[in-house]
């Protein structure tokens, strides 16, 4: 059960990381936050947040499994998370607004 929890956490980290990387791209930010400005500093922050999420996900995978297995799990988790983010942006972009809000310092959260 501990393992299942860790793997879920790893997936969550991948998903939030991928979401922030997507939000660093202007068209996706607009999909989620409409007219809220997409400043240079915000983009940098989103990229940092995103990268951190992905690295954290790897760290959790390494805790959950033997290293050789963990890399496989991590890479596949990234793929699945990226596809889920793309689908969320296509069908329910607002569902990611909480992540956008976290990155923009909870100012004007939707």
């Amino acid at each position: 059960m501990v393992d299942a929890g860790l793997l879920m956490l790893a997936f969550l980290c991948s998903f939030t990381g991928m979401s922030w990387l997507a939000l660093a791209l202007k068209p996706h930010w607009v999909q989620v936050r409409d007219a809220v400005p997409h400043s240079e500093s915000l983009v940098r922050r989103l990229r940092w947040f995103g990268a951190t999420g992905l690295v954290l996900s790897l760290a959790v995978c390494l805790v959950a499994d033997h290293a050789s297995m963990a890399w496989l799990v991590w890479i596949m988790t990234l793929s699945a998370a990226a596809l889920l983010v793309a689908m969320a942006l296509a069908y329910a972009p607002r569902s990611l607004s909480w992540l956008a809000a976290i990155a923009s310092g909870l100012r004007g959260s939707a």
Binding site: M69, M76, S79
Partner: protein, 558 residues
């Protein structure tokens, strides 16, 4: 010939992708099913729906069963065709048994020497039985293990056994997959900028291309690693240097390696008794525990059975690692003395074991298994959307010019996308619907599979005329309906014939059957949704592929 590198890559991607896309579709689809091959076996053979078992006692149970194994009749026939008359009793060479953490049944194998082949000193035939390791009872021969013995070989050989042609077609397809991935990345102008882009609301061609790019790009590491490792696994077939150019070297290497480990390469020709294998297993397990890697037996191998030079090799199951098995301990069969304990593999060997292991996946990790299914199915979506894009881009033009090309590509796309799904469902329905008393049940089941596929192809061809007028072929929608019907029928038939419905399999926590039933129902739901949307599209008859910005599309018209 091409004004830019990108145009050249586009040509390669389009045409190689088209020709081998149909094969790749089949390889990806059956590969995805093979991730759960043993679970599909359980669904198809209700007598084996119990928990996975560890390797049973050799001395008590396996030995008498091994002793009864005869060479397969079909193999004997093939051997007679090779060498003429065979010896009355072929000498036994070796026995082996392989099991994983997902196997409730155990397959036992024996090899028998064919000594009178002047062309091949190592000619031999096989025999095998499958048993219930709890009781030692043999499973009837005509129970087809649909997952591991039918879908899985389909994945790597297409069941085209003549001259091993299937292996070569799949190899070529894997190679083309690698080419398509590289050329696809080169063609993709906005790989990072459109990494997460899917616009289902835009016109049809645009959204198909988005989905093609998305499923290709996000699962790129999976596609690449699996095409590559697939080729590596069968490298010995594709480049049989150890059988041809380097045969002498390979044989010498085999002897030197056997000598170095102290394992006899050849039998002594002197009969000798076999010591207790159970004691050897216990000793091997204690050795693994001493190395802090306690485990179960994955592979048991007795070479030169009954000979003074006989050896017993015990391999640890790789449930907790990517490599299949390992940490072998080799024993002298007559005394039970340890001859050689394999050291940790060299770096090269570990890389090889990792690459083949990640593809063959006998490890215990359910999330990773499902992620592999996701990878495989995204490959299917990528290939199917590629084919649809090809057709969508040309059908108006072909309609105007009276060319048949788009029509037949579309019919082939139906045959390779919904066709295999229908064939799979047909074999499952036949498996649950056919009476148990009929002999050679496996032959009927396989027949249902192939007939359904041929019918799907014929139906696709007959219903392809609308494509000629620039419209959607109704075959897509009709086959989606057939998929939904058959998938539900399979679940219902499983319930009727075994009494096991979703409520009961879930409540007893038996996931091989519950999971597969749920997958079938999910497939039915997806097929129904697809059919409904196809109907809507057929009605709107929109000519919607003219309004795409030129830069978003392939620059060349192929």
């Amino acid at each position: 010939m091409f004004s830019s590198f990108r145009l050249a890559m586009t040509w390669v991607h389009t045409w190689f992708g088209l020709v081998l896309g149909f094969v790749l579709m089949v390889v990806f689809f059956f590969g995805s099913l093979s991730v759960f091959d043993r679970e599909i076996d359980r669904w198809a053979i209700p007598e084996t729906r119990y928990e996975p078992q560890v390797m049973p006692s050799f001395d008590q149970m396996l030995r008498p069963i091994f002793e009864q194994i005869e060479p397969d009749e079909a193999e004997l026939e093939a051997a007679r065709a090779r060498v003429g008359k065979l010896e009355a009793e072929l000498p036994l060479m070796n026995w082996s048994a392989y099991t994983t953490h997902r196997d409730p049944v155990l397959a036992l194998y024996a090899e028998f020497a064919v000594r009178n082949n002047p062309d091949d000193a190592e000619d031999h035939v096989h025999g095998h039985v499958t048993i219930d390791p709890r009781t030692g009872a043999r499973l009837p021969e005509d129970r087809l293990k649909i997952g591991s013995e039918f879908f899985y070989p389909m994945h790597y050989s297409l069941h085209v056994n003549w001259l091993g042609l299937g292996y070569w077609i799949v190899a070529l397809a894997a190679l083309v997959m690698l080419v398509a991935l590289v050329s696809g990345v080169v063609m993709h102008k906005k790989l990072f900028r459109e990494f997460f882009t899917f616009r289902p609301q835009t016109n049809r061609q645009r959204s198909i291309l988005d989905l093609h790019n998305l499923t290709g790009v996000v699962a790129l590491p999976f596609h690449f690693m699996f095409a590559l490792t697939g080729l590596i696994i069968f490298a010995g077939i594709y480049f049989p240097v150890s059988e041809t150019t380097l045969k002498q070297l390979a044989e010498k290497h085999e002897r030197i390696e056997a000598n170095a480990k102290g394992l006899a390469h050849d039998p002594a020709g002197v009969k000798a008794p076999l010591a207790s294998v159970d004691a050897m297993v216990a000793l091997a397990k204690s050795r693994w525990a001493a190395r802090d890697m306690a485990g179960e037996v994955g592979f048991l191998w007795l070479n030169h059975v009954g000979d003074r030079n006989g050896t017993v090799s015990i391999y640890r199951a790789g449930s907790d690692q990517v490599a299949l098995v390992g940490q072998a301990v080799h024993f002298e069969a007559t005394t039970g003395r340890i001859i050689h304990e394999e050291p940790p593999p060299s770096p090269v060997a570990s890389v090889n074991e990792f690459l083949t292991g990640l593809h063959l996946q006998h490890f215990e990790h359910w999330l990773l298994r499902w992620l592999y299914v996701f990878g495989g199915l995204s490959g299917c979506v990528c290939i199917a959307t590629g084919l649809l894009f090809f057709v969508g881009k040309r059908k108006q033009k072909h309609a105007a010019q009276g060319i048949q090309g788009a029509r037949w590509v579309d019919a082939l796309a139906v045959t390779s996308v919904t066709g295999p799904v229908l064939a799979v469902l047909a074999i499952l329905v036949a498996n649950r619907g056919l009476p148990t008393e009929i002999g050679e049940r496996n032959v009927f089941e396989e027949g249902a599979f192939w007939i359904a596929w041929v019918l799907a192809g014929a139906h696709a061809a007959l219903q392809s005329r609308p494509v000629q007028q620039g419209r959607i072929a109704p075959a897509w929608r009709q086959q989606c309906h057939a998929i939904a019907t058959l998938a539900i029928a399979a679940v219902v038939l499983n319930w009727i014939t075994t009494g096991e419905h979703l409520g009961s399999s879930i409540s007893r926590g038996y996931w091989p059957v519950a999971g597969f039933d749920l997958v079938l129902l999910a497939a039915a739901a997806i097929a129904l949704t697809a059919a409904r949307r196809l109907r809507m599209r057929e009605k709107t008859k929109r000519r919607d592929n003219d309004d795409i910005e030129a830069d978003m599309l392939e620059p060349a018209h192929g």
